[in-house]
């Protein structure tokens, strides 16, 4: 399968520009760094572990906050690990949840081994087969620019083909208790 060329940091910056009150969940690995590099904000919930859990966290959040928009940004490897959750999400049909896959066809955290999307798997087709109504693929920055507003208004599953090139590390906060606490405070949930 042909590989992506897009700079992941430019993609993240485009998707999160003027994010407003968008609720963002990022998956273990590089999408956590990408979202942090685009500008740390209280409404970002970064996973530093719990691989495979990003989409389901997005679902629980979207169901709990039906009037807010939720965007899950995660990598191909993280989504592959939680592939069953695509079926669990679509079974609930949340209309306020979008997922953006940063697909570099690599397991970037562990030495850039080729992932299943390098060999044979099309995650957009998987999502569609699970019942996701709208799936889209982006290969150019123009397509990413067009995608950004749609991810905040539709229930979209987007696969963005990014370059496998390494980018400078950016490490956002990683204390889970603080991340959860500031997130809840930011959206106005009183502490129990």
């Amino acid at each position: 399968m042909s590989e992506g060329v897009l700079d992941r940091r430019a993609v993240a910056a485009t998707l999160l520009k003027d994010a407003g009150d968008l609720l963002v969940v990022t998956g273990l690995g590089s999408t956590t760094y990408d979202a942090g590099a685009a500008g740390d904000r209280d409404e970002n919930f970064y996973l530093w572990g719990a691989m495979g859990g990003a989409a389901m966290i997005g679902l629980g959040l979207a169901l709990a906050q039906p009037n807010r928009r939720v965007l899950v940004m995660t990598g191909d490897g993280e989504m592959l690990m939680g592939m069953g959750s695509l079926a669990s999400v679509t079974a609930q049909r949340p209309d306020n949840l979008s997922i953006a896959i940063f697909d570099n066809a690599r397991f970037g955290e562990t030495g850039a081994q080729r992932s299943h999307t390098a060999y044979s798997t099309d995650l957009g087709a998987v999502a569609a087969a699970c019942g996701w109504r709208d799936t889209v693929q982006a290969r150019t920055m123009a397509e990413v620019e067009a995608l950004a507003p749609r991810l905040r208004t539709e229930a979209l599953f987007a696969v963005i083909k990014i370059s496998a090139d390494e980018v400078p590390r950016f490490l956002p906060p990683r204390d889970g208790a603080q991340l959860a606490s500031r997130f809840r405070r930011a959206i106005g949930i009183p502490e129990p």
């Binding site: 719990a50 389901m56 979207a62 709990a64 889970g176 959860a180 129990p192």
Partner: protein, 172 residues
């Protein structure tokens, strides 16, 4: 108390505890709770493909201000271990109700290893474990477990023993 009654009492306590999202993996022992959750307008029953999804669901629910419970069988506990780092690291509550297999009169040997390991594995992973053997203790135990989970924000599992549930009968 009949079997039906204790399960209805457990559901009533989940309602009283303010549970809004019920993640579940299909299970005969939890069938009544699952059905009741589906029928309840204030609850969202979320069918899962594997148990650890329910931990992530509960984390998302908590971030959004709602409470969640995960219903599963002991055979699914092993699937959950790494995902338990999520509520533990993030100081989030986590409540799961687990029906036990592989102990009282088990017919299927494939259920025995995970069933035997379940309490030890959960405890080693940092989960507080309560066990229910008698129907009259079920609702009270769920009340205590929900309070521990949501007020003290720790992971808690309630194990419903196989004797309580009734061993699955395969052979007539």
């Amino acid at each position: 108390m009949t079997e039906l009654k204790w399960q209805a009492a457990v559901f009533a306590e989940l309602k009283r505890a303010g549970i809004r999202q019920v993640g579940y993996v299909p299970d005969a022992g939890h069938a009544e709770l699952i059905e009741a959750a589906h029928a309840d307008n204030d609850m969202r029953a979320v069918v899962l493909t594997t148990e650890e999804e329910g931990i992530a669901l509960a984390a998302g629910a908590w971030l959004g201000g709602q409470r969640s419970v995960l219903l599963m069988q002991s055979s699914g506990v092993g699937n959950c271990i790494n995902m338990l780092s999520l509520p533990i690291n993030c100081r989030m509550p986590f409540l799961t109700l687990v029906t036990m297999r592989g102990e009282w009169g088990e017919f299927n040997p494939w259920q025995v290893p995970m069933g035997s390991a379940t309490p030890g594995v959960l405890e080693r992973a940092g989960v507080h474990v309560h066990r229910v053997d008698r129907p009259e203790d079920a609702a009270d135990t769920v009340v205590a477990a929900a309070s521990l989970a949501f007020d003290s924000r720790v992971p808690v599992a309630v194990l419903f023993s196989q004797r309580l549930i009734g061993a699955k009968v395969f052979v007539k």
